[in-house]
Structures are given as C-alpha cells and as structure tokens.
C-alpha cells in the first residue's frame, strides 16, 4: 500500500497545475444557473480550451482520440481541476463520460471519426435517453419502440429525466427492437440527432427550480441504421461497456469540494462559538472522518482499476456511502446558517455569508436541495443495496 505519487505522476500534476493557473482566471464569468444556452456555451468553451492545451479526453481510450491516461492520472486530473476551481464536464457529462467512451470502443471506424472529435473539441453535446416513465430502476423493461424501415429505424415512445436535453445535439438512446417482453435481449443502442422531426422536448422543473432535465416524446422519428452502435438487440451489452470505463473517479470533484465545504463550516462554527458549538463540531469531526474514509475508498478504487481495469466492489461502496454523506453534510450546513437557510438569495450578515468568506447561505441551500438527487440518479440507494447484497455478498435474489 503506497500513497505516494511517482515522479511521472507528479510531473503530470505540476504541468496540469501550471496550465490551470493561467487558464482558469481567463474564463468568462459563470452564467446564471438556469440559463442553459449560456451554460452550454460556457462548458463547451472550457472543453475547447482543454482540447487546445492537449488535455481533452484524458481518460478516453487512445482509439477514440483520447490520451488513454492511467486511472491514477485520471484521479490527479480531477483532483487538480477541483483544486483550481475549474469547471468539470458540465452539460456534456454524457458525451464525455458515457456516450463518447462507448463509441470509442463499440463504434465503427467511421462512427468514431464522425462523432468523437466534436465531443473532444467542445462542439457537440450529448444527452442520455435511457429512463422512461415506466422504466426507471427496472431499465430493462423499457418500451420505446424502434421499427426497421429501409435504412432507418422509426422511433415512437417517450423518455424522461433526460438531463440537458434542451441543449443537446445528440442523444444516446436505448430502444426496444425485440419483442415486448424480451427485456435485456431486445434492446438496441442508437445515436439520435436531437433536431430530427418528430422529437418534442418538454422541460421538467427540478425541485431546485431548474429546467435541468426534460421529457422526450418521439413520434415516428427516423434514425438512420448507420447510427446504431453494436448489433441490433445487443444494446444492453453496449451499455454495460460504458460502465467498465468507470474507474471510481466520477465524483472525486464533489468529494473534494465536500471536504472544503466542511472546513469552511468548521471555521464558521468556531467563529460563532456559543453553547451549540461543541455538538456541531462533534458532527463536523465525524463527517470529516467519513469524508476521509471515502477519499481512502476512492484511492483504493483507482488503484484496483489500475491493476484490473475495474474498480471492483468499491464503486458501489462509494456511491452508497458518499451520496448519503453528502446529504448529511448539507443538512449540517443549513443548520449552521440558521434562518438564512430559508432563502436562496445570498445574504450578508453572518460568518456563514459568502461576503465574509463563508460558504454562503444560498450555496448551502443549493447543495442541500440538489443533494436529494444523489440517492436517486444513476441507481437509487435501494437498488445499490440490492446490487451489493446480491452481486457482492451473494445473497439470493428476492
């Protein structure tokens, strides 16, 4: 067990850190949270900068135009971005973390040449059309139909919770090509241009008030057969391939940001003092120990991925533990800012305020509200527990 970085890893880190020190301050001001076109422009602009500097697709396989970095370099990359308060993948998280890597491995040479460079350059944005109104946790029951007609698949059905659909150019979509009850065996993975006739996008407001995701209605949408990745009815396997790219680094930025937030809450509690301080500090210390533990779990996952290619059981351990930990951290944050936690507006007037160097009551409210999605998106905590119990502990299916 070695937690020291090699000379090569340190060199990679210092090169990146030096570049970030120049690049991050040159970014335009952050756009308003609910101005999605502006956020798209901001995030893709940043991606373009990464591309020019040679840092685009660092975790992508080489055959997809990526740098094929080791899991450890990937960890350093996310760590340095967070340290520099740089943007991460933003509205194109699907393109950069899911669809792109899938096309890189499962796509044809022609598909790779057409679709991958625009993602890396920050020109095209992707969304993910997996979930449906009646197929959430039970994704394999999805019903959105695709019927072959000449050189096209004709799609009808609906998708839901499609993040950033309004600003996306393409959708990685799972459709039913087999018989209705074919489950995993009758699903196909398609690349659907979002500007085709027959697609209606109806934005959905999250409980944070933002139109971050949408419902998609598809009525006779013609997607060329050439946009199919993998074979017909082999889409489930293609989807699983994406998961094999997960090296346990997807939430590293949020973990490190949580540690920073905890530090700043500690400072606020110490500054305020009073009879409640020891109790709050006890909770802060406990959360600190738990965050440190998940940082240790992360480094273990990355090390395991470096040896075997996958992070093993640690991925589920991290997802379950961290999503709930983040919610408790945010709950504590709200308590610390007291009645200022009843509004989103950033207020001045307390050590918690951004004006006085604190975390900011509005920011804390945002973290608290958005924290609720963490135990739902990408597999609910209940589903994660089922997976841990059945696949890791070998308990019988219920």
């Amino acid at each position: 067990m070695d937690l020291r970085y090699s000379e090569a890893e340190e060199a990679f880190r210092s090169g990146l850190r030096a570049w970030l020190a120049g690049a991050v301050p040159s970014l335009p001001p952050k756009p308003p949270a609910n101005d999605w076109p502006a956020r798209r422009a901001y995030d893709t602009g940043w991606q373009g900068m990464l591309h020019q500097a040679g840092y685009a697709g660092i975790d992508w396989p080489v055959e997809g135009g990526g740098l094929g970095a080791s899991p450890v370099e990937q960890l350093i990359y996310v760590e340095e971005l967070e340290r520099a308060h740089a943007p991460y993948v933003g509205v194109n998280f699907v393109g950069l973390l899911h669809a792109g890597p899938t096309i890189a491995v499962e796509g044809t040479a022609g598909q790779r040449a057409r679709f991958l460079p625009p993602i890396l350059r920050g020109e095209e944005v992707w969304c993910q059309g997996f979930s449906e109104p009646d197929a959430g946790s039970d994704l394999a029951s999805l019903r959105c139909r695709a019927v072959r007609d000449g050189d096209d698949y004709v799609l009808s059905g609906s998708k839901i919770w499609t993040s950033h659909a309004e600003v996306a150019d393409y959708c990685e979509i799972l459709v039913r090509t087999g018989p209705e009850d074919s489950r995993h065996r009758g699903i196909t993975w398609l690349m659907m241009p979002m500007d085709l006739p027959g697609i209606e996008i109806r934005p959905l407001r999250t409980m944070a008030g933002s139109t971050e995701f949408a419902e998609l209605f598809l009525d006779g949408v013609r997607v060329p057969v050439g946009n199919r990745v993998g074979e017909e009815n082999d889409g489930w396997r293609v989807t699983m391939v994406t998961l094999s790219f997960e090296r346990g680094t997807a939430f590293v930025g949020e973990l490190l940001q949580s540690m920073e937030l905890l530090r700043s809450l500690r400072d606020v509690v110490v500054a305020v003092g009073g009879s409640g301080a020891p109790g709050l500090l006890g909770r802060i210390g406990h959360l600190g120990a738990e965050l440190d533990a998940q940082w240790a779990v992360t480094r273990r996952n990355v090390s395991q991925a470096a040896r075997t290619g996958v992070p093993g059981i640690g991925g589920s351990v991290f997802k379950l533990a961290f999503s709930e930990l983040r919610q408790r951290l945010a709950q504590l944050g709200l308590e610390v800012c007291g009645r200022a936690g009843l509004v989103w507006d950033e207020l001045a007037g307390g050590p918690w305020s951004a004006a006085e160097g604190g975390p900011g009551n509005g920011e804390l409210v945002d973290t608290w509200v958005n924290g609720f999605s963490r135990t739902i998106a990408a597999g609910t905590s209940q589903i994660q527990r089922n997976i841990v119990a059945e696949r890791i502990l070998g308990l019988p299916k219920g």
């Binding site: 210390g285 600190g288 440190d292 779990v297 480094r299 059981i313 209940q382 841990v388 308990l395």
Partner: protein, 325 residues
C-alpha cells in the same frame, strides 16, 4: 500511488489468519469465558514468535522492520479471530519494554485517570507489566505487575476480556516522554481501529452465511430486502472503515501524504463504530439465536465495547478530526 495490498501484505494477512485458525479457534478460546484470566503466556509467546508484536521493530533490534500498514493488516486478522489479550499495548510497547517484542513479556496498558473514580484495567491477571499512559503529563510510565494491587470484577461485559479493579496506580518508571505518548495515542488509534475492522468483517461474514441458509416463509431470509439491506450496510461500513484504517496506517508510515493524527483519530472512530454497528445487525439477523449465549454474536459486540472503552470518547476523537480538518 497504489493503495492495494502488496503481495507480501496479502501473504502476511493469510499467514496470521492461518495462525489464528490453528492456535486460537473460537471453540477453544471460549473455554476460558468468564475467568479472571483469559489470555495465556503460551499463546502470547506463539504470537510473539510469529512476529505479531515485533513487526515494527527494526531489523537491527531483532524485529521485522515493517510499517504500521503491515501491523494494521495483521491486527485486522487478530480482530476477526477475536484473539483475546492486550494486543495493542503489547505491540506498542515493543521496543520500549524488553521482552514485549517476542511475546515473552505480556504488556497491558491503562490511562491514568484525570479525576476520581474506579480504575479498571483489562487482562490484569495475565499481564507481566503495565504501561500507564499519562495524557496530562505527556508521559509513559512502566509499572511492574507485582506493584499493583487489584482484584478481578465478578462479571465483565466481554467474557473474554476480564476487567480488574485497582485502587491506586503507582508512580512507575518513566519509559517515554511526550513524543512517545503522542505516538502511543496515534498508533494505538490505528491498531484499535484495525481490530474493529476485523470484528466488523467477521460479523458481516457470519451474518451473510446465516442469511443464505436460514429459511422462513419457504425461502432464505437473505432474499428479503429488509435483511439484504442490513447486510449491504454492513459491507459499506466495514469496507469504508477498512480503507480509513489502512490509509491512516500508510499516512503514519509515509510522511507527507497527509495528517497522520487526524487520519488515526478518524480510523479509530470509524473502526469501532463499524464493529459496534455490524455486531448489532449480526444479532438482529440471527433472530432468537442472536440473543443466545451460544451464538458468538454477542462476543463481537462486547469486544467492540472493550475497544471503544480503550480509546478516547467518540466525541473527543471527532474533536481531533474537526480541529485538524
């Protein structure tokens, strides 16, 4: 950076697990349940021979010259096997107290109490010498067993860790200053956390094995989600604590990778918590069997209580983490 165990570390854990299975099978350890003396000098010497206490003593001094990381790996196995006796104290005393490293001298430990109140000491009947840890003065003092008058309590919570009551602690001889006392606290936190992780893994494995075979309503109880989710939480707790403990150990061994004092306090906190919470779930999933004397679930719970009792309070450990965050 490679936080996976090395081949040597894997082999070390396997070796200790084999030693425990051969020398300390639970059936034979349990024979001494409730006695005023449980740990025995012969078993201790065998642990010593295997290098359990001498791991971190330098080659030149006849030790193995390994790090706290290896010690943590070993202590997880000792915890898992529920090996009785003052393991942490004897390991920390190797190098300070002659004979501790090879197991020929069994070393116990007690914190000098800050105020009045009964003084309870684990395993006093078995130990040869005691280290008195004085956190206030920043000292470690050595007291010969013969210089202490104490009596065993009638019933100790952990039937395998007899508690003795002592009226007063003699002054003792100074064997360590502030640096040693700080090291004792920090490394003791990591090793105690490691024992806790071992307990937590043992109860998890015991629970899962039972949930696979016990049937009710015509199917294995492990197929019920309420049971499944208890088991999944046991794994998350044990693996999170294990990562925290091992990272803390490496942080002590490798200067510059983090704050060892904060990491060690967190490791103790989470290691003990995992041991306690997993033991509770173990009892629950065993149903009525879990409440019996026969099923050893309670032994793991009580040992977890003993570990927690040997540490600063959870509030104090959390305060260390908060302070150094």
């Amino acid at each position: 950076m490679d936080f996976e165990r090395s081949e040597d570390q894997v082999a070390l854990a396997e070796g200790v697990a084999r030693l425990c299975a051969g020398r300390f099978p639970l059936e034979s350890v349990r024979v001494a349940e409730g006695r005023p003396t449980v740990a025995d000098g012969k078993g201790w010497a065998e642990l010593g021979e295997a290098g359990v206490f001498a791991l971190r003593v330098s080659d030149a001094d006849g030790g193995l010259g390994l790090g706290l990381a290896e010690a943590a790996v070993v202590f997880e196995e000792l915890g898992r096997a529920l090996v009785p006796g003052p393991l942490v104290a004897s390991s920390l005393a190797a190098g300070l107290v002659p004979g501790a490293a090879d197991g020929s001298v069994m070393v116990g430990a007690v914190r000098r109490p800050a105020g009045p109140g009964p003084i309870l000491i684990e395993d006093l009947g078995a130990v040869d010498v005691l280290i008195v840890v004085d956190d206030g003065a920043g000292e470690l003092r050595l007291v010969e067993r013969g210089a202490v008058t104490g009596a065993p309590l009638q019933r100790s919570l952990d039937p395998l860790t007899p508690m003795w009551r002592v009226e007063a602690l003699p002054e003792g001889d100074l064997v360590g200053g502030e640096e040693d006392q700080t090291r004792w606290g920090r490394d003791g936190n990591v090793l105690t956390g490691a024992l806790g992780v071992g307990l937590a893994l043992a109860t998890m494995e015991m629970t899962v094995a039972y949930a696979r075979t016990r049937e009710q309503f015509g199917r294995a109880i492990g197929s019920f989600q309420a049971v499944k989710h208890l088991c999944a939480d046991m794994l998350v707790r044990a693996e999170s604590a294990r990562a925290a403990v091992e990272a803390a150990a490496v942080t002590v061994d490798q200067p510059g990778v983090g704050d060892p004092v904060r990491a060690a306090a967190g490791a103790a906190l989470l290691g003990c918590e995992a041991a306690q919470a997993n033991a509770r779930s173990c009892i629950q999933v065993h149903g009525g069997m879990g409440f019996t004397w026969e099923v050893p679930a309670h032994l793991y719970l009580m040992r977890a209580q003993v570990l927690a009792g040997s540490l600063p309070s959870p509030a104090d450990l959390a305060a260390v983490v908060a302070d150094r965050y």
